[in-house]
């Protein structure tokens, strides 16, 4: 579970005294905090009593006693049941231990600088860090983009500080926080939220949940800035990275942020956090059920897990939404069903490997054999395609390009390719309604339907189909040839008659070009040299193949002679 981002300022205000006269050009991190305090005192003073009221239920949640919270007040469950100690966080204990050790060692040796936590949103990455900080009495410095944008106007009016771009405020923040002194001293003097019980702070970390919005122009600067920070900081920095697909990040995303030399050195550690498991989610949800005194069918846990895909935050929110409606039915609607995106390669892999349901867990209702006694396929091709996020022609090209590698029998492959051809044809008839869906279904099922003797499972690289490149080169060549054709028929020497200046180049290429190369090589060859083509290799490859042909012929003759079959016709 993760703390709502809005919540942090509120808490600060609730716990710390207001310091309106805080020095203006001081530590940026504290400046941020101060701005924050100021703004809240100005804008949200009306909310103070409301918040006071809310505080009590949250305390209850901390102790998980349930108690008197049966009435539905406005608090979101996600806030109310925010875990307060590390044991409540739904991250695998092993990972927690790893993170704890990393931070502790980083504080001592100052060699480890940057920890990157990668994982889908809502699985407790930030919450884990916060809980760890609480447990070990570390102070957290956070940067939040909205601070600089929202309050800079106010800030400049009050403190005559120039308006800052989010990037420069980020820079300032990193510079100040990275030294590791200011935050400590100021935190303690300003009685900040992270030091709630008044005890001694034993260290500080920087927590980055978001980075300044990146534009083309600023990206390089951000990267320099960040790399510089990683190199020089004396405070361990934790970066939360949740821009992931199926729990995996793209290497280039991180590499565009930090110099790869640093990223893969000892300075940095990239840690994958897995989504919440079924048991963990059930544990958390059942705590809520007890606290809220609800009665729910037991299957709801599994259902919620499936629908949220391990995203605990969304699961709890969904849960509350459904509990509010008092209609605790399982699998009621797909309104709350989040679209599960499959990475394109995952989707294509599914279609190409065409795994089948194994006999072990068959459900007699939905399990029926195919006509030829094969068990049904393990997935729904239409759904897979829908979630893959690639457009249809791309899917078809990918499948077609890679399918031969999965077959061992040519006639099965031929049937599959015939189906792809059907699908391509349907895609072209966009005027017929439903043809696109039919095309997708055909394409998705082609491999599964015909591949009875798949080749042995092995790892296969799914590369982009060559046909894209072919089409591109072809278009360029076409333009090129048209120019050539045109110039031949219009230039002074009039190699071709004017009539051939019109029309497609196809006849020119198929009928004339190769003869023209022999008749007037001087005007043709030069312009052909710039073409995208490996065709010029043809002459060579043909001669070699002719050799091969005669070689084969000889070989055959030899065999036939050995077999004593006479009268072999060499033609």
């Amino acid at each position: 579970m993760k703390l709502g981002r809005k919540q942090l300022p509120r808490r600060r205000k609730a716990t710390g005294p207001l310091r309106l006269d805080w020095p203006a050009v001081g530590a940026s991190q504290d400046l941020v905090g101060t701005k924050d305090l100021v703004s809240f005192s100005l804008e949200e003073s009306a909310f103070v009593p409301v918040r006071r009221k809310q505080k009590r239920p949250r305390k209850n949640a901390v102790s998980h006693t349930g108690g008197d919270t049966s009435s539905h007040d406005n608090a979101l469950w996600i806030d109310r049941y925010n875990p307060q100690c590390i044991a409540d966080v739904c991250v695998a204990p092993k990972k927690v231990q790893e993170v704890r050790q990393w931070i502790q060692s980083a504080m001592k040796d100052h060699v480890h600088k940057l920890l990157i936590l990668v994982g889908s949103p809502g699985i407790g990455k930030s919450t884990m860090i916060r809980c760890l900080a609480k447990e070990n009495r570390w102070s957290i410095s956070e940067w939040n983009e909205t601070f600089s944008n929202q309050y800079s106007a106010l800030n400049s009016a009050m403190h005559s500080v120039d308006q800052q771009s989010s990037l420069s405020s980020f820079q300032e923040f990193l510079r100040q926080a990275g030294t590791g002194y200011h935050s400590l001293t100021f935190e303690s003097s300003s009685n900040s939220s992270t030091k709630q019980d008044g005890s001694q702070i034993s260290g500080s970390i920087i927590l980055l949940e978001s980075l300044p919005t990146q534009h083309e122009s600023t990206q390089m600067r951000l990267r320099e800035l960040f790399t510089e920070h990683v190199r020089t900081t004396s405070v361990p920095t934790v970066l939360i990275f949740s821009d992931v697909l199926e729990g995996k990040h793209k290497r280039e995303d991180l590499e565009s942020l930090v110099d790869p030399n640093l990223l893969y050195s000892d300075l940095c550690l990239i840690l994958q956090i897995q989504p919440c498991t079924k048991q963990n989610m059930k544990r958390v949800l059942s705590l809520i059920v007890r606290a809220e005194r609800l009665s729910v069918p037991s299957s709801i846990y599994e259902d919620l897990h499936e629908r949220s895909n391990g995203d605990l935050r969304s699961a709890i929110t969904t849960f509350q939404y459904e509990a509010m409606g008092q209609s605790m039915t399982v699998k009621n609607t797909d309104t709350t069903n989040r679209d599960r995106r499959l990475s394109p390669f995952h989707a294509l892999g599914k279609l190409l490997y065409a795994k089948r349901v194994t006999g072990a867990h068959k459900d007699p209702l939905s399990w029926w054999k195919w006509k030829d006694d094969r068990p049904p396929i393990d997935f729904n091709p239409e759904n897979v395609l829908e979630h893959s996020g690639i457009e249809q022609f791309g899917t078809l090209s990918f499948l077609e390009h890679h399918s031969p590698d999965f077959f061992s029998d040519i006639s099965e492959l031929s049937d599959t390719l015939a189906t792809f051809s059907d699908s391509a044809l349907l895609m072209d008839c966009s005027s017929i309604s439903g043809s696109q869906n039919a095309a997708a279904s055909l394409a998705g099922r082609a491999v599964a339907a015909f591949n009875r003797h798949p080749r042995a499972n092995k790892f296969r690289q799914l590369s982009a189909p060559k046909i894209f490149e072919v089409n591109r080169n072809r278009r360029e060549n076409e333009v090129h040839l048209r120019h050539l054709h045109h110039s031949l028929s219009t230039n002074r020497s009039n190699e071709l008659s004017l009539h051939s200046a019109l029309g497609a180049t196809s006849h020119f290429v198929s009928d004339s070009l190769s003869f023209l190369r022999r008749i007037i090589p001087e005007s043709i060859d030069l312009s052909l040299n710039t073409m995208h083509s490996r065709f010029r290799l043809i002459d060579k490859s043909i001669s070699s193949s002719n050799d091969a042909k005669t070689g084969l012929l000889k070989e055959q003759q030899q065999v036939l002679l050995d077999d004593d079959i006479g009268d072999f016709d060499s033609e």
Binding site: F393, P404, I410, S414, L425, D428, L516, R518, I520, R534
Partner: protein
């Protein structure tokens, strides 16, 4: 200048084969007012354009052969500009509206409207200059009509009726089945068939006499055979042979085919040698290569089928040719050629493999 263009007949009387067509055309030209829209169709290199040029010559006199190349820009209703080449004389205009791609419809309407609204120069000239019996209409020659989109063909159909009094259309294409029925029915269809090999030999002979070199009969026959009854190609082949041997042609010298035909031949050999998914992947590379070089997919499949036929058992020929026709049709229906090409290759492999297995089982 290439021999192809140098020895192109310019008068209807000079045309060397299809005499009945030539006679019909000259009777049309002698009475121009009765000339309907014309629709020439037939395979490439059969002499459609040559006949049209000759016809225009006898309709308008020598003025029709003073050509110049114009570049026109058209503006579509969506404010896109399309640039198009056209060949014009005072009497006629020749365009390939298919070059305009998706905007062909507007081009057709614009051009014909414009041509029809301006009177023919010959008709408005004083009677002394005017050749008696000369046509009073202008002519629009539309080449490659089979590349036109459906919408453009429909536009053509309406425009044809509207301006029939002041302008005549001559449509040219290879495959008449790609032109919609209403357009075809508004025209007088003239099929220019490919010449026979004997006729091509005669053409080649006449070229050799004009260029005054010796063309051995055997070589002429060889060229005619290899040209697949395409006169343009035959004359180009002859010239290529001539250049290669520097004028001294021998009767047994090899006739060079086009490079891409050799390439397809190689492909055919490969797929008959081995039928596995791996071989298919290798064959696919060759198909890519051909496509990159702008060889049209339907030409590839046609040539490939012919090459495969050569070494095939008779019992298989029917099935293979049927599949070739099937996929050729698909290629012409859609835009995603590679899928159909590969499906054909795979199908051939499957059929052939089955045949081999049955043979040895």
């Amino acid at each position: 200048m290439l021999w192809v263009d140098k020895y192109r007949p310019v008068k209807l009387d000079d045309l060397s084969y299809h005499d009945t067509i030539s006679q019909r055309l000259s009777s049309l030209a002698s009475n121009p007012e009765s000339m309907p829209h014309l629709f020439f169709y037939g395979p490439a290199g059969a002499g459609k354009k040559t006949r049209i040029t000759a016809l225009l010559g006898s309709l308008y006199g020598p003025g029709a052969s003073r050509l110049k190349l114009d570049k026109r820009t058209f503006t579509t209703p969506t404010k896109r500009t399309v640039e198009l080449n056209m060949i014009t004389s005072n009497y006629h205009i020749e365009i390939s509206p298919g070059d305009a791609g998706l905007n062909d419809r507007f081009v057709i309407q614009d051009v014909i409207k414009e041509m029809a609204s301006n009177k023919n120069v010959g008709a408005s000239a004083t009677s002394s200059e005017r050749k008696s019996g000369a046509a009073t209409f202008k002519t629009v020659v539309l080449v490659e009509v089979d590349r036109l989109s459906r919408q453009a063909q429909a536009a053509l159909r309406r425009t044809m009726e509207k301006y029939a009094s002041t302008c005549r259309l001559i449509l040219v294409c290879n495959n008449q089945s790609k032109v919609i029925e209403p357009v075809r029915s508004r025209c007088l269809g003239i099929r220019v068939a490919a010449p026979t090999e004997d006729e091509i030999c005669k053409v080649l002979k006449s070229v050799s006499i004009n260029e005054s070199f010796m063309l051995p009969d055997e070589l002429a026959i060889n060229i005619a055979r290899e040209s697949s009854r395409n006169v343009r190609r035959a004359i180009l082949m002859l010239e290529a042979c001539y250049v290669q041997k520097r004028g001294a042609l021998t009767k047994d010298q090899p006739v060079q085919k086009t490079d891409w035909e050799l390439y397809i031949n190689q492909l055919a050999v490969e797929i008959t040698r081995e039928q596995t998914p791996q071989r298919l992947m290798a064959a696919r590379e060759k198909l890519y290569e051909l496509l990159v070089n702008c060889i049209p997919a339907n030409v590839i499949i046609k040539t490939l089928a012919k090459e495969l036929m050569k070494n095939l058992d008779d019992s298989l020929k029917r099935e293979v040719i049927e599949w070739a026709a099937f996929y050729e049709h698909r290629i012409s229906l859609g835009s995603k050629e590679i899928f159909h090409l590969e499906a054909f290759v795979a199908k051939f492999m499957a059929v052939y493999k089955k045949y081999l297995n049955d043979l040895f089982a």
